[in-house]
């Protein structure tokens, strides 16, 4: 028997939480997909096909080859606008030997209080949502042939409850919130492996810092690498994800805090979902983006070895470039000001860790030909001098994505899951553009290919590309 799990695109509720796919939305601290993968193991299924669309990279990074669950996971892609069932009909002969199919965002709720034992499946089990098959488990070739031919059959199919679990729809933020609360109130124990203990109603991850003055009131679940401040009161009915910080004197009850969230000092969070800087009321789905690091914020990811290498190499290099540029910047910049040829605009840009940086920018390509002095200024990359100072202050990386403007690029900033603003980027050698599509493509390309080698390529191209473009139409490279 094989399993086909559609990770699909994000329904509105998952999008509000900041996920590109529902499969990675955490339930009691673990991605929803993991519950399905564990179920595959219990059903003696070893071959799992994950059908990806939006958020494919994140799903693949999480599930990898499936060895963690004793599964062999392979991947396929489907256009998010296509009907998920089309995937099965591409090669129906692959699935007629037995199929476990998940089509929609469902949660496999285990019905018995004790952990589920491994089971052998015979016959067909079916769950429908909105008149269509949402979850199917069948070991009957005849039934599968008919189903794969496009017929919606329910005749002779059994309910999943007979197997000890029931697929439960997660169709709204309210569903998601209640599911999490139900888990923390005791159902969590049904999903832990033998040997783990959840009887006291408190699941606390690794490397969690809890000061003596903090008060924990179970039931609660706290993820790995989370830090609580003094005099915090956590619980009851609280789920805190991984890498969270709850600052001093805050009180949390009946709430779900997603991974990487900072909760400011002396806050009171009840009956809410908090995802980074998003405060969500699950009862009516109101989402408030609180861009204030004194209240709510996103905790930056842990520093990877490559990032440490970048910082160690990048900072001295930025210092060297800044020292080399200092006097030419002042002289040529002064000359430009005096002659009235200073055409650079100053604007606020999104920097690292929700900070902002003031940078200089030439007018866009449509702004006309630059005067000779300004072309020289540009060829020597002197407009990057303020950006280099921001690198020294830790607000920008030396090489990275093009910094996004506060205001005009806010939507793109929110959309980008990984934002590494750099003084030097793919955008440096070419003319300034205001096209968001180009910025988006560049940012996504860099996030995917980010490496020390790629940074070196950007560095060389940025510095020498402008020199080479000195005699171009506007002292720049043409757009790709």
């Amino acid at each position: 028997m094989k399993a086909v799990l559609q990770t699909g695109s994000a329904p509105a509720w998952a999008h509000d939480l900041g996920f590109e796919t529902w499969a990675l939305a955490p339930v009691a601290g673990r991605p929803l997909l993991e519950y399905w993968l564990e179920l595959c193991d219990l059903l003696h299924i070893t071959e799992v096909r994950l059908v990806l669309s939006d958020g494919a990279q994140a799903v693949e990074a999480f599930a990898q080859d499936g060895a963690r669950w004793g599964l062999k996971i392979s991947y396929s892609f489907l256009d998010p606008d296509e009907d998920p069932d089309l995937f099965l009909t591409r090669s129906p002969e692959l699935w007629t030997g037995g199929l476990f199919y998940l089509r929609a965002p469902l949660f496999p709720r285990r019905l018995a209080a004790a952990p589920l034992a491994k089971m052998n499946v015979a016959g067909t089990h079916l769950h429908r949502e909105g008149g269509r098959t949402a979850c199917l488990l069948s070991a009957e070739p005849e039934f599968l042939k008919t189903f794969l031919a496009g017929a919606e059959l329910a005749l002779g199919a059994h309910d999943f409850a007979e197997l000890g679990f029931a697929p439960e729809p997660v169709a709204s933020l309210q569903d998601y919130f209640e599911l999490n609360l139900r888990m923390v109130r005791g159902e969590c124990a049904r999903y832990v492996s033998p040997g783990y203990f959840f009887k006291d109603g408190a699941g606390i991850g690794f490397n969690v810092v809890i000061p003596p003055a903090a008060r924990l009131q179970p039931p609660l679940v706290i993820g790995n690498n989370t830090r609580l401040g003094a005099l915090t009161i956590i619980g009851p009915d609280v789920i805190i994800g991984h890498r969270c910080i709850v600052d001093q004197q805050s009180e949390l009850a009946r709430c779900v805090i997603l991974d990487g969230t900072y909760i400011g000092r002396n806050l009171e969070i009840h009956d809410k979902i908090v995802a980074g800087q998003r405060l969500i009321d699950p009862t009516d789905g109101t989402v408030a983006e609180i861009e204030d690091p004194w209240l709510l914020a996103t905790v930056p990811g842990t520093l990877r070895p490559a990032d440490i290498l970048r910082a160690v190499l990048g900072w001295p290099l930025a210092l060297l470039l800044a020292l080399l540029q200092c006097i030419p910047f002042l002289l040529l910049g002064g000359l430009l000001k005096v002659t009235g040829a200073w055409g650079l605009g100053r604007g606020a840009y999104h920097a690292t860790r929700q900070r902002r940086a003031a940078l200089l920018a030439f007018p866009t390509a449509a702004g006309g030909r630059l005067p000779t002095l300004a072309r020289l200024f540009r060829a020597a990359s002197l407009d990057l001098f303020p950006a280099l100072l921001h690198v020294l202050a830790g607000r920008l990386w030396l090489c990275g994505q093009e910094p996004l403007r506060v205001g005009s690029d806010d939507a793109l900033r929110r959309e980008l899951k990984e934002y590494f603003p750099g003084a030097l980027s793919y955008a440096v050698p070419r003319a300034e553009v205001s096209d968001t599509l180009i910025k988006r493509v560049d940012a996504l390309y860099y996030a995917h290919h980010r490496s020390v080698a790629e940074d070196t390529r950007i560095l060389l191209r940025a510095l020498f590309g402008r020199l080479a473009g000195l005699f171009g139409p506007n002292g720049t490279e043409p757009l790709p």
Partner: protein
């Protein structure tokens, strides 16, 4: 941010719109102080917040400073028609314990009498 000041039934009525964040609080505070100085005919103030789309901790700080200023003159500050998103900020910061919040401007004006 847009702010209008008027006196209604002997109560100062401030109607606010836009965002009340770090960039706007100084101007708002200065405008309010000037208006309050220029008119001695009222002590109580009602803030109509329906038009506010976002408020951060600086905005909240400005409202607390306003409350203090009004209280020092023996008056009372009431907030009316808080939008849902602003109400959520009030909930998590426990600001609802400091301010009296009314559903309508009429209710707030009545409470000031």
């Amino acid at each position: 941010m847009g702010t209008t000041f008027e006196i209604k039934d002997g109560v100062g009525l401030v109607t606010m719109s836009g965002s009340l964040t770090a960039g706007q609080v100084d101007a708002f505070r200065a405008e309010f102080n000037e208006w309050q100085k220029s008119s001695e005919s009222f002590r109580n103030v009602v803030l109509d917040c329906q038009g506010i789309d976002f408020m951060d901790s600086s905005g909240l700080g400005a409202l607390i400073a306003l409350l203090k200023r009004v209280s020092e003159r023996g008056g009372d500050l009431k907030l009316a028609r808080l939008p849902k998103k602003v109400r959520m900020v009030f909930e998590i910061t426990r600001a609802y314990k400091i301010f009296q919040i009314c559903d309508t401007v009429e209710e707030a004006l009545q409470a000031c009498k």
